[in-house]
Structures are given as structure tokens and as C-alpha cells.
């Protein structure tokens, strides 16, 4: 049975990865799960320098979901390389590094730094974080800026580039196409949805940042639709994500056109989820007599 898939030049042993920001730098989960059973480890977003992040409260639980406004707290490129890379580079599975900046030049510089590090599996361009004032979603919701970021990173690295898309657009197709045309090898669909919750006792927003990004099972049907629309618009592979809790959820994404998937918020409450998805996917294929996971990709039937 073949579970392996390709993201650009990168081969994943199975299509199950984790979503940036929900898995730290991998090492935090190493006592709870065997990281080498994943398709890839995807680390939290990193810009050039350290980032303090937003004041708390930073997350709030909502019905079947979670809202967050962390503000991309992180150690910066040097801090990451010093603290986390020695562990990650020893893993048998690839590490995908999520990067961001506040200017096109910063994205390219971070990409260049990780290109020269050696051993990185792929770079995921975060052009879609809803919780920072500068950078993030400002690039992912403007076709021209999106193209500039992807093209600038393309110039400095041969590593596979995965563009993480914003869901906060009227139609995802032109953005997906722009990322593909600018040289992106794949798309991650998608980042969290801009959202808001209010504490009616205090009349204050539940998050200190006022608004946040919504994730978790409640967003899955919206994510499936975005993957389906993007898959019709581009030829490059898509990593689908949004509320995956089970193999059945992951298979929906594959059928909608995703080549791989990422488990996100579920990592916070059920650390075994990603490995359960791998096992469940294998079981589903066995039951249906499917020998190659690629046969599931985009296999949705919409005709009569």
C-alpha cells in the first residue's frame, strides 16, 4: 500500500502533517508521540528576530472551536536554530519551517537563512496570520503583494515553497493562481478565520487583541470548500487543513483535492490525533481496496 505523496520535490512518507502554530517545534510532543510516524513536522512561524507576541488573554474556547490571537510569539531565526534545530535535524521525517516577515525583503532574508542552513524539508510562507498588525494577512489578501513575496523567496531558494493562504478573500482561485504563477510549489489551505467573541458579563472582548483567528472542527466545512475551489484553479499540490479530528475528516480533504493534510487544533487536546489519522487512512484504504493514496486525491464525484 502506498501512502507517500510529493509536495514539490519533497516526498512525505504519508500525507499527514501538522499545522504550524499547533505543534511548537516538535520536541514538545516527542514524549507523547513518535514524530517519525508523521508525514512531516511543521514548526511555528518564524521571522528574522524574536517576537514577544500579544498580551493575554490569547485564546478562548468557543463551540467546537478555538479562537486565538497569539501574535506569532517566537525565538527568531537565530534562536530557532540554536534551541530547536539540533533536535529537528535528527528526525527521519522532514521539517517544514513556517516563515513570515513584515516586508517582502524580510520574507526573502528568512528564506535565504533557512536555505543556507541545509537539511530543511520545505518552507511554508505565512502570508495569512490574522493577528499581527504588520505582515501576515496583509500579504495574503493582496494578489500583487502575494506574488511579490512568493517571487522574492523563489529567487533565493530551491527548497519547496508552500504558500499558506488566507481564507479571508472573496474567491480563493485568483490568489491560489497568483502563488502558483510566482513559483510556489504547493499551497496550504488555509489559515484561521478572522473572528470575535464577547464576554457579556464584562462587556469586553474575550481576547486582548479584540479579534482572533478561529480554528477547530467548526471551520472544517468551509475549509473543504476552499480546498475544492483552489484545487480546480491550480496544478500544484494542496495541503488541506481546518478542524481535522479523524481519518474521515482527512479523507474529505483528500477527496476535495488536497494531496496532504495537516492536523491543527486537535493537537492541543488529543496529541495522538495525527497518528490516529495515519492509521485510520490506512484502514480505510484497505477496506475500499485502494492501493495508492493518490487515488483518493481529488476523487470527489459531483456529476450524477
Amino acid at each position: 500500500m502506498n501512502l507517500s505523496v510529493k509536495i514539490g520535490t519533497l516526498t512525505l512518507q504519508n500525507p499527514v502533517t501538522v499545522a504550524s502554530g499547533t505543534f511548537g517545534y516538535g520536541v514538545e510532543y516527542s514524549q507523547l508521540i513518535d514524530l517519525n510516524q508523521l508525514g512531516a513536522v511543521v514548526v511555528k512561524g518564524i521571522r528574522l528576530g524574536p517576537v514577544r507576541g500579544n498580551p493575554p488573554p490569547r485564546t478562548v474556547e468557543v463551540t467546537s472551536g478555538l479562537m486565538n490571537a497569539i501574535g506569532l510569539q517566537g525565538p527568531g531565526v537565530d534562536g530557532f536554530i540554536r534551541k530547536y534545530w539540533p533536535f529537528l535535524k535528527e528526525l527521519k521525517v522532514p521539517t517544514i519551517i513556517n516563515i513570515w516577515g513584515t516586508t517582502v525583503e524580510e520574507y526573502a532574508e528568512v528564506a535565504r537563512r533557512f536555505d543556507s542552513l541545509g537539511g530543511v524539508g520545505a518552507l511554508e510562507l505565512n502570508v495569512s496570520c490574522p493577528n499581527i498588525k504588520e505582515g501576515g494577512a496583509q500579504f495574503g489578501t493582496d494578489v500583487k503583494l502575494l506574488s511579490q513575496v512568493v517571487a522574492a523567496c523563489r529567487k533565493v531558494t530551491k527548497l519547496p515553497l508552500i504558500t499558506k493562504m488566507s481564507p479571508n478573500v472573496v474567491s480563493i482561485a485568483p490568489y491560489a493562481k497568483a502563488a502558483e504563477d510566482a513559483g510556489s510549489d504547493a499551497l496550504s489551505i488555509m489559515n484561521s478565520f478572522p473572528a470575535m467573541a464577547i464576554d457579556i458579563e464584562t462587556r469586553r472582548p474575550s481576547l486582548a487583541n479584540v479579534t482572533g483567528g478561529l480554528t477547530g472542527p467548526c471551520i472544517k466545512p468551509i475549509a473543504i470548500k476552499l480546498v475544492w475551489e483552489a484545487a480546480k484553479a491550480v496544478k500544484i499540490p494542496i495541503i488541506g487543513m481546518g478542524g481535522i479530528q479523524s481519518a474521515a475528516d482527512a479523507i474529505e480533504f483528500l477527496m476535495a483535492g488536497a494531496t496532504a493534510v495537516a492536523v491543527g487544533t486537535a493537537n492541543f487536546y488529543e496529541p495522538q490525533t495525527a497518528l490516529q489519522v495515519v492509521a485510520g487512512l490506512r484502514q480505510f484504504m484497505q477496506q475500499k481496496g485502494i492501493g495508492d493514496v493518490c487515488a483518493l486525491i481529488g476523487s470527489l464525484q459531483t456529476g450524477k
Binding site: 514538545e28 514524549q31 493575554p56 488573554p57 474556547e61 497569539i70 510569539q73 492541543f268 487536546y269 496529541p271
Partner: protein, 261 residues
């Protein structure tokens, strides 16, 4: 750190809204250090996704216990669960209290409400017995007083309504004791943030070391979601550190309370 399915041995009301949960957790129990916590997934809580963190109260062989207050969706559902039912637990988690060395400092413990639960193992494992100061609004908020006395500790109770012990705040009773200026003491505290801030101020005033167990909203419990951050001094300034993995216990001098005000 271990993830395991644990079975409820008992789950009984203590006083008022407080409950005592005992679970069989043979992999987690032997590993528990004072001040650590367990992160619990409550299966009937279907649409509320996150685990709930609880200080570990007592450990006995393969079982551990939790003393909790029914304060929301999670604890309400938990309070209805019965012996034999199962929970998913990750633990023990966090950086706990430093147990004083033999012939080391005499511990003075300061607890607000169910903060008392987080201090029990420290009292049990400390080579020196000390004094525990416990405060609450009413008599029913004073928990496990008898258990601390049974360990041979002196317990000084304060209630805001004066229904039990001395009337007033727990920090008033602590201040009265600190004024005796006996040497070789160390403070350990767990309770609401205003109480912890007051204990921190008293520790600074009387030049005593203090360890504070901070209680913040938590997401993953293992250091990745960055929900439970608190401002901690670093270099010339401060940075956000995680209550779940860098804490929950911090040296009082390291907490940069002013950064959040």
C-alpha cells in the same frame, strides 16, 4: 509526562461547590512532584474541546486525587461523572515547587481557596514542618485543613466574613507572622492573582525567598499553544513565558507583574 486513560475511583462533594476526584493513574502517580498538574480531557464535554488543568492534590500508590471547584462547563460536567467512568489524562506536567532540603528553610505556605490543594504534597514531602496560612471568603472555602494538621503542620485560617478562624485576608495573618522576623523561612503560595501579588510584595519587604504557583487559562498544557503566558523578567526587560512548562511555579522576584498593568 505520560498520556493515559484513567478510571474514576471516586468523585465526591467536599464542601459547597468543591469536589474531590480520585483516579487510578498508575503511570502518572509515581512521577508526581509537588506543585505539578494534570491536564484532563473530559469525554462528555463534546463541543468544548480543550483539556482542563488541575493541580494534583494527593498521591497514594497508583491513585492520585484532585480537589476542584465547580466553576464552569468543564468542572460541572466532571462533577457529574461517576466511579468507573474514564478520563484522558496527561501528566504530571509543569515545573513545581522546590522541596526544601533537610535542615533547610522552614516553609510558610500561603493558600487562597482551592490553592490549598497544590500545596499539600509540598507540606507532605518537606523535611521541615512549617505553618500553612489559608484564606477564603467563607467557612466553606477553607479546604483540607484537617489533612494539613494530620501532617503535623500548624494551620492558620482566615475568612473574609469571619465565619471560621480569624476575620480578614490571608495576607494579614501572614504579615503578622512575618513581623516576628524569624530567620530561615521561605514562602510558597498558590491562590488568586491578587493574593499572589500581595505575597510577592511581602516577600520583597521582608527579604524572603518566595515561590508562587500561577493560575492562568491554559490550552495545550505542554508548551505549544502559548495561551498561558505570564511576563517574566529576562535580561534588561521581560518576556512572555508559559505557565504550563516554564511554570506554574515561578520565583516571585522573576515575575514582572508591572508589565501587565
Amino acid at each position: 509526562m505520560v498520556e493515559q486513560t484513567v478510571q474514576i475511583v471516586s468523585n465526591e462533594r467536599d464542601t459547597d461547590l468543591y469536589f474531590r476526584l480520585v483516579v487510578s493513574a498508575p503511570q502518572i502517580s509515581p512521577l508526581v512532584q509537588p506543585g505539578q498538574f494534570a491536564h484532563v480531557r473530559i469525554p462528555p464535554l463534546r463541543e468544548a474541546l480543550l483539556r482542563r488543568p488541575f493541580s494534583i492534590f494527593q498521591v497514594s500508590g497508583s491513585t492520585l486525587s484532585i480537589l476542584y471547584k465547580n466553576i464552569g462547563k468543564g468542572t460541572d460536567v466532571l462533577s457529574r461523572m461517576r466511579p468507573g467512568e474514564e478520563l484522558s489524562m496527561i501528566g504530571p506536567l509543569g515545573h513545581g515547587f522546590t522541596v526544601p532540603p533537610p535542615a533547610g528553610e522552614t516553609p510558610l505556605l500561603v493558600a487562597g481557596g482551592y490553592g490549598m490543594a497544590a500545596l499539600y504534597l509540598l507540606a507532605q514531602r518537606s523535611p521541615q514542618k512549617g505553618i500553612v496560612f489559608v484564606g477564603g471568603r467563607r467557612r466553606v472555602d477553607i479546604l483540607c485543613e484537617a489533612e494539613f494538621r494530620a501532617l503535623g503542620w500548624e494551620v492558620r485560617v482566615t475568612t473574609e466574613d469571619g465565619s471560621h478562624g480569624e476575620p480578614g485576608l490571608v495576607t494579614h495573618a501572614l504579615l503578622a507572622e512575618l513581623k516576628r522576623r524569624e530567620p530561615g523561612r521561605k514562602l510558597f503560595a498558590c491562590g488568586p492573582t491578587p493574593m499572589l501579588k500581595a505575597v510577592g510584595r511581602l516577600a520583597a519587604e521582608f527579604k524572603l525567598p518566595a515561590e508562587l504557583s500561577l493560575d492562568e487559562h491554559m490550552g495545550c498544557g505542554i508548551g505549544v499553544c502559548l495561551t498561558c503566558v505570564v511576563p517574566i523578567k529576562a535580561g534588561d526587560g521581560w518576556e512572555y513565558q508559559r505557565t504550563c512548562t516554564d511554570g506554574p511555579v515561578f520565583d516571585s522576584r522573576q515575575v514582572a507583574w508591572e508589565a501587565d498593568e
